[in-house]
């Protein structure tokens, strides 16, 4: 994926306020994501990290105030692996509900090989473990051409080699001019600057 987007504004949020269960989670939160940046949203559980990602990708439509600009396509990887148990990994990726791309067989196979599922392309997904489901979902990252990646806890249920692979993938994406916004408790070990957005919990 080559996008000449390094430095351009890929995602902007202005004055976001979110209230949940009577508590105000964040107020007047603004964020500008440019090409070549990796943002990590951190904070205690229940601070609204997932909610913020969902606002940024457009799933949350009510319950918050503020504006979000999305000038380029996004890729969202959420908590659920979005893998249909009755389809094979190949079919899951080819017919993915996100409508993001038309992938050739070769592309799908190479993506599945990169996440360590070589040889598993055509088995029914209900025979795979939950961790393997997550890897099928992460294979979308290898196939996508979206400049902005919004990832919610991408390192969950991934083993050590998977973590290294994912970190280098994120680094490559950022180096090519894309942007990543992710929530994670994991400390990234990459050789470029990671920008942090800390959500405090409740704003009093």
């Amino acid at each position: 994926m080559s996008t000449n987007t390094a430095g351009t504004l890929l995602l902007a949020a202005k004055s976001l306020c979110l209230e949940r269960g009577g508590r105000e989670l964040f107020r007047d939160l603004s964020l500008e994501v440019h090409g070549g940046q990796l943002w990590q949203i951190e904070g205690p559980n229940g601070a609204g990290k997932t909610s913020l990602i969902r606002i940024l990708c457009g799933l949350a439509r009510y319950g918050y105030t503020g504006q979000v600009q999305r000038p380029v396509p996004q890729l969202y990887v959420g908590h659920h692996p979005a893998v249909k148990a009755l389809l094979t990994p190949r079919e899951n990726l080819a017919w993915h509900a996100s409508g993001a791309g038309l992938y050739t067989d070769a592309q799908i196979e190479s993506a599945l090989a990169r996440v360590g599922l070589y040889g598993y392309e055509d088995v029914p997904s209900h025979t795979l473990s939950a961790g393997q489901h997550r890897r099928v979902n992460l294979a979308r990252l290898f196939l996508s051409s979206a400049p902005v990646w919004l990832l919610d806890e991408p390192f969950t249920a991934i083993d050590k080699s998977g973590i290294d692979e994912l970190q280098s993938l994120l680094a490559a994406h950022v180096a090519a001019g894309g942007a990543v916004v992710m929530t994670s408790h994991h400390t990234l070990r990459v050789d470029f600057e990671v920008r942090f957005l800390h959500l405090a919990g409740s704003v009093t």
Partner: protein
């Protein structure tokens, strides 16, 4: 690597949903078995006299088809909601109206269409005159399509709720009633030898209205349910 065009995406969704249904045959068979068993309840409850059964047959067949359809109406979006595919669908650049229509189309092909095709068998068991069989199938084809579209509205509004269950029935049964009225009237007209064209035409009109408006409501319902 470009994004798929709208029709390409919808046909992929349709194919995906059909394949998912076909790989779990018991889900397709369930409403048909339900239909069969409930049709059997009526002679048990009303008595086996052929004339009485024939008199009630149009209504009984239609009510039973409606109830079988009601049972499956929740499943249009449920499994995609549970594994997170629905979220991805809402983020797709293709219009949600057409995607919802693809889901509903697949649902009808695996429930309503089969109910309509199987219905003559049970109609004969209830002594429906043979002349009315064609109209029965036609009315069920049109009517169950409307039922699928209306049911999808209820399914979209309740897919995010933990205790869906009876709620979807309460929501969509009032909407089902006009379809029942005209569907059974069509079969009744065929039995008594009156022209059936007007009733089928009204069912067709209801279908057109439902195709135009129901996916809008379903799309709105999906966005609300995912956000909740």
């Amino acid at each position: 690597m470009s994004a798929p065009g709208i029709w390409q995406f919808c046909s992929r969704l349709l194919r995906r949903q059909l394949l998912l249904a076909v790989r779990r045959p018991i889900d397709i068979a369930n409403p048909l078995l339900f239909f069969a068993m409930v049709v059997a309840l009526f002679p048990l409850g009303l008595g086996p006299e052929p004339e009485k059964l024939a008199g009630f047959a149009p209504g009984v067949l239609w009510i039973t088809a409606l109830l079988s359809h009601l049972l499956t109406s929740d499943s249009v979006f449920r499994s995609d909601f549970d594994d997170g595919s629905l979220e991805q669908l809402l983020l797709a650049p293709q219009p949600l109206y057409l995607s919802a229509l693809a889901y509903i189309g697949a649902h009808w092909l695996t429930t309503g269409l089969l109910l309509a095709v199987v219905s003559p068998l049970f109609a004969l068991m209830l002594n429906l005159p043979v002349a009315a069989l064609g109209v029965l199938v036609a009315s069920l084809l049109l009517g169950t399509a409307v039922l699928s579209l209306l049911g999808a509205i209820g399914a979209a509004l309740t897919v995010g709720l933990k205790r869906g269950g009876m709620l979807i029935s309460l929501l969509i049964l009032p909407l089902y009633m006009p379809v029942l009225i005209f569907g059974s009237a069509a079969v009744q007209a065929a039995v008594s030898g009156n022209p059936t064209g007007p009733y089928l035409a009204i069912l067709g009109a209801l279908l057109c209205l439902a195709i135009a408006l129901a996916p809008l409501a379903a799309a709105a319902g999906l966005r609300i349910s995912i956000d909740a």
